[in-house]
């Protein structure tokens, strides 16, 4: 497993999840979990994905998702899971 957390924050609009999921599928990135909520009035989605079989390296996926985010008017971040695990789990 090569777990990465993808977060999408911004104004809600049609097709955000579809667009991100399609991109991930095209690049053989497996989605393990999706959750979403509204935090301080903003659409907030988190995906836990496995990038072990990904066609592209982390940096490329991250750059591509940033661009997709710009097109959708949301901020998409792609961070390795360890930073969250380290901070919130002993």
């Amino acid at each position: 497993m090569d777990k990465t957390i993808i977060t999408v924050v911004g104004k809600d609009t049609v097709g955000i999840i579809a667009r991100v999921c399609t991109y991930l599928a095209e690049n053989e990135v497996n989605i393990l979990d999706i959750s979403q909520t509204i935090v301080q009035g903003y659409f907030n989605m988190m995906m836990i994905v496995d990038m072990q079989k990904s066609i592209k390296v982390h940096d490329e996926i991250s750059t591509d998702l940033t661009k997709i985010g710009e097109e959708l008017g949301v901020i998409i971040k792609c961070q390795r899971e360890e930073i969250f695990n380290k901070m919130h789990r002993i």
């Binding site: 977060t7 924050v9 909520t37 988190m46 961070q79 390795r80 930073i83 969250f84 380290k86 901070m87």
Partner: protein, 454 residues
């Protein structure tokens, strides 16, 4: 599994509360570079640093992108040059040549500072140490990225007052030599007592002789995160206050630990320590003074400041120590003036004086830091200030330091701007009474009684 709220909390710290890893500092031993020929020594130094640190900046940037955490500085610390250059240097100018070489190497490696243009003279000075110290003004004038430190005392050895006297003169001479840049040279020159061998923070970083061939040390930061956490518990009692600081320090430090381990793995260099410091920057919201305000003071410097800083420093350590496998360096809260907008505001409001800052250095991790003083301050007065700080460090078994800038041509009420991370500052008044007879006595102050523990 990690949930969305935890992810949102971490990202809010990064995006809104200035959470970052302040520095990845690679410590490099230059002991095997020593040679009697100065040219050869400089070649050896260049080759050694390049071979170990060539991927440092790129690795830091890659980690930063993959984890989504800013890593602000990538830096290098080296074996104190007074030791490395001892057999090759026969004049201050010879040492300056090493400084110039180091500056070029720092630029080639893409690091913003290289620390270790240093001497350890806590008990006595060798001939080389003294030549080195005399080279400092010229070295600081002719380099951009070199940081310089001199350790003049320790709890184990006492205070070398001969070195204290010389360093007062050297600080003044460095200010004079860099006066066209508002005496900027002094912003990269620090005089220490009980200097740690593994400090990743500038200007006092060097790679001590007790250290390994090469090591990765990481300095964390995050005053903005602590301030935000405290603003959520405005009316809470001290128990809740302290628990909140501890928990926040734990979270901040865990990020530093992750970055340090990852940098160590990728660079093939062992992990040394995490320095658990709250290091402010001039950016709004990245201030230790603002934490003191969030604890309940109108300004840093108000009565209660020393107590508030003492509890902050202690809770940061308590929270951070469990988050990291190895803790070292300075670890605590930094209280520089020019690098902390809240401190600058406090000075301008008349709330904070050098004497109060001196009291604060008794309970925090460093000393009188980035304080601009009038350019006509006598060298002996600067030596007196250094001696006072060194005494606080020696007696309290802690690191203390003096990084003051006598700004040539400027006086109290005027401003000085160093730019970037070094910030800007109002020039603060210094006690004008004379201490030259004390400073000129010569010799050493003996080690304190509680240093004899054998």
């Amino acid at each position: 599994m990690i949930n969305i709220y935890e992810v949102a909390e971490t990202n809010a710290m990064i995006e809104h509360e200035n959470l970052d890893v302040r520095t990845i500092t690679m410590g490099i031993s230059l002991l095997d570079c020593c040679d009697t020929n100065l040219e050869k020594l400089c070649r050896n130094i260049r080759a050694k640093i390049t071979s170990l640190a060539k991927d440092l900046v790129a690795t830091g940037e890659a980690i930063s992108r993959e984890y989504g955490i800013p890593i602000v500085n990538k830096r290098i610390s080296i074996t104190p040059i007074a030791i490395v250059g001892a057999s090759a240097c026969h004049s201050p100018e010879d040492f300056v040549q090493i400084a110039v070489t180091l500056d070029e190497v720092a630029k080639d490696m893409g690091v913003n500072f290289l620390g270790g243009y240093s001497a350890i003279v806590a008990k006595g000075m060798t001939k080389s140490d003294e030549l080195f110290m005399r080279s400092i003004p010229e070295a600081m004038a002719r380099t951009e990225r070199i940081c310089c430190s001199v350790n003049v005392g320790s709890t184990k050895t006492g205070i070398n007052m001969d070195a204290v006297k010389i360093m007062g003169e050297i600080v003044k001479a460095t200010a004079e030599r860099t006066k066209e840049k508002d005496s900027l040279g002094c912003a990269k020159l620090v005089v220490l007592c009980n200097a740690p061998d593994d400090n990743p923070f500038m200007a006092g970083a060097f790679h001590g002789v007790s250290e390994a061939e090469a090591i990765i040390n990481v300095g964390v930061s995050g005053p903005g995160v602590v301030k935000y956490a405290l603003e959520q518990i405005k009316d809470a009692n001290f128990e809740v206050l302290c628990e909140t600081i501890k928990k926040t320090a734990f979270k901040i430090t865990r990020v530093g630990q992750l970055v340090a381990q990852e940098a160590s793995r990728r660079l093939g260099v062992p992990f040394g320590i995490i320095d658990l410091s709250l290091a402010p920057t001039p950016a709004v919201g990245d201030s230790v003074a603002d934490i003191l305000k969030a604890i309940g003071l109108e300004h840093a410097g108000a009565p209660g400041t020393t107590a508030a800083l003492a509890l902050l420093n202690d809770q940061v350590k308590k929270g951070g120590v469990m988050a990291s496998s190895y803790v070292g360096g300075l670890s605590g809260a930094f209280i520089p003036v020019s690098e902390d907008q809240g401190m600058i505001d406090a000075v301008e409001a008349g709330a904070l004086t050098i004497e109060k800052l001196e009291a604060m250095t008794c309970v925090c991790s460093v000393g009188l830091d980035m304080i601009a003083i009038p350019g006509d301050t006598p060298a002996t007065t600067i030596s007196g200030i250094i001696a006072d700080e060194a005494a606080i460090g020696m007696i309290n078994q802690k690191t203390t330091a003096v990084r003051i800038i006598p700004v040539i041509g400027k006086g109290v009420g005027e401003q000085v701007d160093f730019g970037g991370l070094l910030g800007h500052a109002p020039i603060m008044p210094v006690n004008g009474f004379d201490c030259s007879v004390f400073v000129n006595r010569g010799g050493r102050i003996p080690a304190p009684i509680h240093s004899f523990k054998n």
